[in-house]
Symmetry: C2
Amino acid sequence: MPLDPQRFLDDLHKLRSFGASGVGKGVVRQAYSEADIAARKWLAGRMKQAGLEPHFDPLGNLFGLAGTSGDRSLLVGSHSDSQPEGGWLDGALGVIAGLEIARAAKEAGGPPISCVSFQDEEGRFGVLTGSDVWTGKLALEDAEGFTDTEGNTLAEMRSLMADLAGDFLPHKRFTGFLEMHIEQGPYLDETGGRIGVVTDIVGIRDMRITFEGRQNHAGTTPMHLRRDAFQALSAFNAALNGRFANVVTPASVWTIGHVALHPNASSVVPGRVEFSMQWRDADADRLARMEAIIRETAQEIAADHGVEAELGPVLGIEPAAMDTRFQAELGAAAEALAPGKWQKMPSGALHDAANMAAVMPAGMLFVPSIGGISHAFDEDTGEADLVLGLQVLDRAARALAG
Amino acid sequence: MPLDPQRFLDDLHKLRSFGASGVGKGVVRQAYSEADIAARKWLAGRMKQAGLEPHFDPLGNLFGLAGTSGDRSLLVGSHSDSQPEGGWLDGALGVIAGLEIARAAKEAGGPPISCVSFQDEEGRFGVLTGSDVWTGKLALEDAEGFTDTEGNTLAEMRSLMADLAGDFLPHKRFTGFLEMHIEQGPYLDETGGRIGVVTDIVGIRDMRITFEGRQNHAGTTPMHLRRDAFQALSAFNAALNGRFANVVTPASVWTIGHVALHPNASSVVPGRVEFSMQWRDADADRLARMEAIIRETAQEIAADHGVEAELGPVLGIEPAAMDTRFQAELGAAAEALAPGKWQKMPSGALHDAANMAAVMPAGMLFVPSIGGISHAFDEDTGEADLVLGLQVLDRAARALAG
C-alpha cells in the first residue's frame, strides 16, 4: 500500500510553518495573506512533484489535477486558509490528506484522484467564499465588492494572486468530493470514537433582534414603570429555551452570542439591546419551526415588557445531506480499520463539502478534536488519529474512484 | 412677601446659558469645565449683588454667606455642575432657589439664610465629590488622585480654580440644609402631584459579577455540553427577580445595566460575561438581605450552569434619613400652598443632602420631572411647578431659620 503516513505528517507540519503563530501549534494564515499565498505556492510545488497538475482559478482555489483534461477524477481536499487566530489542522488537515491520497494513487497507478485547497473557507470576505463562487452559489461580480473587517475588498485581495490565476474548472471534471476535517466539537473525544462519518452539514439561520425600551435613571424609575431592554432579552431567552424543548433534537443548537446593551452603564436602565440569534439544524423544516417560535416569542415578550421588537432579516445557509453511497463507503472503510470506533454524525460546523454537495456527490469524515477545541491556537488531534483518518479516507477514496 | 419668582426664573435661564448645549434646554457643564467655572464666577457675582458673601472652598464648593462669621444660618442649595450631557434643571434649580431665598431673606431683613453650589455632585471624579470632601466622608488627599474618564486628576482640575479658593468652612456655621431638586422619576408627573417631601435618600449597592464558562464553537458544541456564560446570566437574572419578590418593597429597585459578553460573536458560545448588579433601598437591612440573595443566587446558578462566579467588592452609599422637623416644615408648607397635591416619598437618586444629613439636619423637596426624564437634554419641568417649589421651600426655610 503506497500511502505514506510519515510523508503526510511531514507535509502537514511543513504547511503549519506558513503563518506559524509562535504559540503552540497555532497558525495565522488568513485567506490572501502573505502566509496564505506562500503556502499555496508551496502546495502547488508539492502537487507538481507528485505528478499532479497545479491549477489556480480566479479566486485562488488551488487544484492538483490527476490525469488529462479529458479524464474525470474524484476530488479530495479542504481549505488551507485559517481563522485570524487558528489551529494547525482545521482545513489544512483535509488539504494534505487530499494531497497524500492523490499522490499515492498516482504512484500506485490507480484510478486518478485529484486534490484541492479552496480559498477563504473561513470567510474573511463572506462564508466559504472560494467554494461559494466555484459552485455557482455566489456570483464573482457580487463577491468582488465584499470587504474584510479592515475595509479591503475581495477584488483587491485576489489581485495579489492574479499572476497565478487560470480559468474556473468545469465541475464535470470531477466525479465527487471527499473532505476530511477535525470534528471541532467534543463528541468523538468524549465518547472515545476515532472516526465520524458525516450524514448532514447543518443549516444555519442568523437573525439580529433589537428590543427598544426606555432608557431611564436606575434610582428613580420604579420597577413596575420600567421598560428595561435587558429584562426583555432575559425573559425572551428563558421563554425560548422552554418552547424549543418541544421541537428540537439533541443535535439542534441555538446561541445568543452577541449582546450590545445601550447605554450599558450600571446606573442606567437599559433602553435598547441588540443581540444575535443563531440556530442550526440538519432539517430545513425544523429550522423554519424554530424561526416561527423565535418570532412569536419575541413579539409576546416585547408586548409583556413594553418594548418594541425589531427582527432583522434571516440570513441562512441550507442544510446539505452527504451522498448516501459516499457515506456507505466511508462507513465501510471505518469499520474495516477502526471496528466499533466510528459513528455517523451531523456536522454542526459549515464546510466546503456543503457547497460541493450541490454540484456533485460529496462525503465527509471527522477525526476527534482534543477537548472539542478549534479556531484557537491550542486546537489539536493525536497523530495516530490523524493517520487513521487518512487511511479511512484513502480506502473510501479508492473504492469511490475505482 | 419679598420672594421674586421672575428674578428666580431669569437667573435660572441665565445659568443655563453657561454650557448651553444647543439642543433644547440641554446643558453641558461638567465640574471644573470652562463653562462650570464661568457659571460659578457669575453665581458669586449674583451673591455679592444680593449682599451675600461669596466664598469658594478648596474643592470649588461656592457658598453665599449671610451674616458675619459669628452668625449661624440655614443653608439652602444644591450643585451647578451637570452630567456630560445634562438638563437645565437638575442641581441648577436648587442652587438658584437657594440664591433667591437667601436674597429675599436678606432684602426682607429676616433671619440669615445662606446658599451653596456644591462642586462635582455628578461625579466626574467620584460621587458627590464636593460634599463628600466638605462633610468629611472623603479625605481631600484621597480625592486628589481620582481621575475622570480622560485620565485628568481632581488635583489638576481643581487647580484651575485655585485663584478663587479660600478655606473649608466649619459645619457649625450652618444650622441645617435644605435642597430642592427635580424628582428625576415619574411618580409626581404621573400621579398629578406637585411637591414631594423626601423622607429618605436611598442607599446604593453596586457589585460587579463575572461568570466564567467555556468559549466554544456555536455549531459543534451540543447544548448539554455548553458552559454558556450568557445563559448563566439570564438564569441568574430570572432567579433573582423571583427571589427578591419576598424581600423588596415597591420603592426598592435593582438593575443590570452593564453587560460585557466575551468574545461577543454570533457564532461563538460566550465564554465569559461581566455585568453590573446595582440595588437601592432606603433601608440598610433590606440592602443587606438583597445582597445575601444575590450572593446565594449567583453561586447556585454558577453551579447549575458549570460556570465560575466571581463576585467583586460591594461598593455602597448608606441610606440617609431626612430630619423629621425639616420634613414636617416642608410638609406644612406644601399643604399650605398645594393642599392635597403633595406627598412624602423616598429619593431613589443620590443628592448632596445625603452627605449633609451626616453633619446637620437636612431636608429635601422634589418638583415633578416631565415624563420622569433627567440627565438628558430634554429634562424639563413646567415653570409653574418650579415657582411653586420655590415658594414651598422658602416658606419652610423661613420657618426653620426663624
